[in-house]
């Protein structure tokens, strides 16, 4: 292993933010180097400087001991640096091969494109990566995991020596993660230096050689992954030790059922799903990607239609055809994709908190009572511990955890007593996660009924009073929460495919 990259004394200021303070990072050829830190710690900024997207205010970057200036993403590419962003940047209407060679298409005379060469070269890359992929397939039809493979192939096609991956597993299921790790390990043996940004501790254990931790834009330390306990890394990240308290499961059998879903169905996505939810209960929904959990949530919320089934709220059947009907019935939905479905990012905290309840701040002429809105927003900022300079801060400037709290505040203000959280901690750092967990437990204790959809089993186990498991659109079982249920039991139900059950004689 040799020194491939040295970044030292990197300074970067944005208006109002000192994003990087004397940050440093070092990468060897043939290692997977995890870069960790809470959101806002400066990981992405540092890597965007390496990828030529941002320019540092000062500091030095050296590759193979040679000091370099990375003036643009193009310059980074020429130096063999590629970054795979969390939001994949592929063109859906083009094929896999066209995406890989975009801007560098092999040509024939008179500027004609050489599609055959294009596809052959793409096929060669996939062959080297040891994965099966059709170069002529449209990117649109690929899963997120497959699209990521295309991004990696694109990075390899320019002979990248430094590959930066920003939370590559955020949208992948376990099998896909295993495939990704196989490719990462293969690249490592070929001498590529890989920067791996992730929040997931178990992955770091599996894949990383070394870990560098950043906090508040500063370098905290670099440690060997193999002989550093996870607790130590977390302490480095948050600057304090976190206790992993288990959730006590209260006895809810005397509590009234607030939500009852019977025979909910839509095509193959949702197949005859029935369950009940009691006041004060946290019902976890576990399952693999595509098991239909989000589909069920969106159908209950009226965001998508359902073909059959009954939804009873407080014992009364409710026809829920739109989110408006659901909100009127007291159901709130917090989407896994806050930025697209949860927040108006360009508007301030106050407006986002009030947006579902504006009628409450309105007089007969339709005038808004801004003072009352501000006062309410400030109350929720205090109650939920939202870190923002003021209620008039634009939401896009908040961290992921604080954005999530703004969405929660919106639903609390709307008096929703049934809250559906879809992946509530996705993209949220460790410290803020614990806060969200605490908040959910508090809300349940106050009598709200909560559904939590999560792809992280430890999270489901830690949060849920009961755990509903789905596979291929069906509810395959409901397990009790608490310490007696194991990840293995959940996985068994999550992989209980219909083929296995149908083959048995009735």
């Amino acid at each position: 292993m040799t020194g491939l990259l040295q970044m030292a004394g990197i300074e970067k200021r944005f208006p109002g933010v000192h994003a990087l303070k004397q940050a440093q990072f070092e990468l060897r050829a043939g290692e997977v180097h995890a870069l960790m830190g809470e959101n806002g710690a400066g990981k992405s900024t540092l890597m965007k400087i390496l990828a030529g997207i941002y320019q540092p205010d000062s500091g030095s970057i050296a590759i193979d001991g040679q000091e370099v200036a990375i003036a643009s993403p193009r310059a980074a590419q020429n130096l063999g640096i590629a970054m795979i962003h969390q939001e994949l940047a592929l063109m859906n209407d083009l094929t896999v091969a066209q995406n890989i060679f975009i801007g560098r298409e092999p040509r024939q005379s008179f500027g004609r494109l050489d599609e055959a060469a294009l596809n052959a070269r793409a096929a060669a890359i996939f062959h080297a990566m040891n994965i099966a992929m059709e170069p002529r397939a449209l990117v649109e039809g690929l899963t997120i995991a497959r699209q990521q493979m295309v991004e990696i192939a694109k990075a390899l096609s320019v002979k990248s020596r430094i590959l930066i991956m920003d939370e590559p597993t955020a949208a992948l299921n376990d099998a896909e993660i295993a495939e990704l790790f196989r490719i990462i390990r293969q690249l490592r043996t070929e001498g590529v230096g890989i920067v791996y940004i992730s929040h997931k501790m178990d992955e770091i254990r599996q894949i990383a050689d070394r870990v560098t931790v950043m906090r508040d834009g500063e370098f905290v330390g670099t440690v060997e992954a193999a002989d550093t306990p996870i607790a130590t890394i977390i302490t480095m990240m948050v600057g304090r030790a976190l206790t992993d308290e288990a959730l006590p499961v209260p006895d809810l059998s005397t509590q009234p059922v607030v939500l009852e879903v019977k025979g909910l169905s839509r095509g193959r996505a949702i197949r005859n799903v029935s369950f009940t939810l009691r006041r004060g209960e946290i019902l976890g929904f576990a399952g693999l990607m595509g098991a239909g959990r989000t589909e069920v949530a969106r159908a209950i919320f009226g965001a998508d239609r359902h073909e059959a089934g009954e939804i009873r709220v407080h014992g009364e059947p409710r026809a829920i055809r739109s989110p408006r009907d659901a909100v009127r019935a007291g159901i709130g939905y917090l989407s896994e994709d806050r930025k697209h479905f949860g927040l108006a990012l360009g508007m301030d905290v106050r407006d986002n908190v009030a947006i579902a309840s504006l009628q409450r701040f309105t007089d007969r002429l339709g005038r808004l009572n801004e003072a009352a809105m501000g006062e309410t927003a400030r109350r929720y900022i205090g109650r939920l511990g939202i870190r923002t300079p003021s209620e008039q801060q634009e939401v896009r400037l908040l961290s992921g955890g604080n954005q999530q709290k703004v969405v929660i505040a919106k639903w609390l203000l709307r008096d929703c007593d049934i809250l559906i959280f879809d992946e509530p901690t996705r993209g949220i750092d460790v410290g803020a996660k614990a806060e969200i967990y605490r908040l959910l437990a508090e809300l349940a204790a106050q009598g709200r009924a909560i559904i939590v959809i999560s792809s992280e089993l430890p999270e489901v186990l830690r949060l849920s009073h009961r755990i509903a498991v789905m596979c291929e659109g069906r509810l395959t079982g409901i397990l009790p929460g608490g310490p007696h249920t194991t990840q293995e039991e959940i996985m068994r139900l999550a992989t209980q495919r219909e083929a296995l059950t149908e083959e048995q004689p009735a």
Binding site: P15, F301, A303, S322, P323, R324, A326, V327, R328, Y333, S335, H340, F341, G342, L343, A344, L345, G346, M347, D351, I355, A356, L358, Q359, T362, L365, G366, R367, L368, E370, Q392, K410, R414
Partner: protein
């Protein structure tokens, strides 16, 4: 301009960031100073009033377009809708001989109804705003010609109709300041629209829909209904523009109208409203409309050929948006 409700407008500025408006205002100021140095005639009261008068129709349409554009939509039908409403006004007043207030009300209601139709097509039938309002633009153009029998309708039987645009209530009180009524009407419309945007639920949802429609829908807001309301309000404002232009010309000219929508959109864009929605202000649009008419007027005083005035206006649009982008990139 002191009669302007600046408090409400300033609140709207918070949503859009005051930078572009400052930039637009500075450009306007530079134009005014430049032209007054170049020609002593420019700053004469009569010329200033001519500029304001020339701005009024385009600015009222631009205010309507601003509302729609903040939702992330576009309204190509504002120009022909204006003409359609003028024709309706003529039918009611001249052909049917109804009293003046009925004619005014008819024009505004016709505008609102057409806006309602556009909004419904867009929100419920999910037709992109560009297509929906392009269709409306052509339909209204045709209908205005059909209803009027392709001939202008004159308002000679309604005494005082032209006073709506050409008279001057202010001038009667303060003879030194003969602000035309049409300009007062513009200020009233602009003030009302600015108030709606900054202070009411409708306004807040207008920005919210432009900012992230799906998130707002998932918050349980009936986004379709609110969007339709915005188009209807914009339509009603086009109805006012129809009255204004009819009063200026003392006639409803059914062939007029097409092309006005692009001038209106130009004013909106110069005024810093983003075509992608979510940000923008009425004050910015007013400044944008003024920049366009100051330019036209000033170049005319300097005896620049009208062809060149068009070229310069086009260039100004590009420069204005580019300056805004530079500012954003730095910010």
């Amino acid at each position: 301009m002191t009669a302007f409700p600046t408090r409400t407008l300033a609140a709207g500025a918070k949503v859009s960031g005051a930078g572009q408006k400052l930039l637009a205002f500075a450009s306007l100021l530079i134009l005014v100073v430049g032209f007054s140095l170049a020609s002593p005639n420019f700053l004469q009261t009569s010329n200033i009033m001519a500029i304001l008068q020339a701005t009024s129709v385009n600015a009222v349409l631009a205010v309507a377009a601003t509302l729609v554009i903040i939702t992330g939509g576009i309204d190509l039908s504002v120009g022909t809708l204006m003409t359609f409403c003028a024709v309706i006004c003529g039918v009611v007043l001249t052909w049917w001989g109804m009293p003046l207030p009925v004619g005014i009300l008819a024009a505004i209601l016709a505008g609102a109804a057409c806006g309602l139709v556009s909004g419904t097509i867009i929100a419920r039938m999910k037709i992109p705003p560009f297509i929906a309002t392009l269709g409306m633009m052509l339909m209204l153009k045709g209908l205005a010609l059909i209803i009027s029998g392709t001939r202008p309708i004159y308002f000679n039987s309604t005494p005082g109709f032209t006073q709506i645009a050409q008279g001057s209530l202010v001038g009667m009180v303060i003879p030194q300041l003969p602000i035309p009524n049409g300009v007062l009407l513009l200020f009233a419309v602009a003030g009302f629209a600015a108030w709606i945007l900054a202070r009411t639920v409708l306004g807040r949802y207008t920005y919210a829909i432009g900012s992230n429609e799906e998130a707002i829908r998932l918050s349980g807001v009936n986004t379709d209904a609110w969007k339709i309301a915005v188009y209807a309000l914009a339509g009603a404002i086009c109805g006012i523009a129809g009255i204004l232009i009819a009063a200026r010309l003392n006639s409803a000219q059914p062939a007029l109208g097409q092309g006005y929508e692009l001038d209106a959109i130009a004013a909106v864009v110069i005024g810093g409203t983003s075509l992608s929605g979510g940000r923008g202000t009425v004050l910015g649009t007013l400044i944008g409309a003024l920049i366009m008419s100051v330019l036209t007027n000033g170049l005319r005083i300097l005896s620049v050929a009208p062809e060149w005035q068009t070229v310069v206006t086009g260039a100004i649009i590009i420069v204005a948006v580019y300056a805004d982008q530079l500012r954003r990139r730095r910010g």
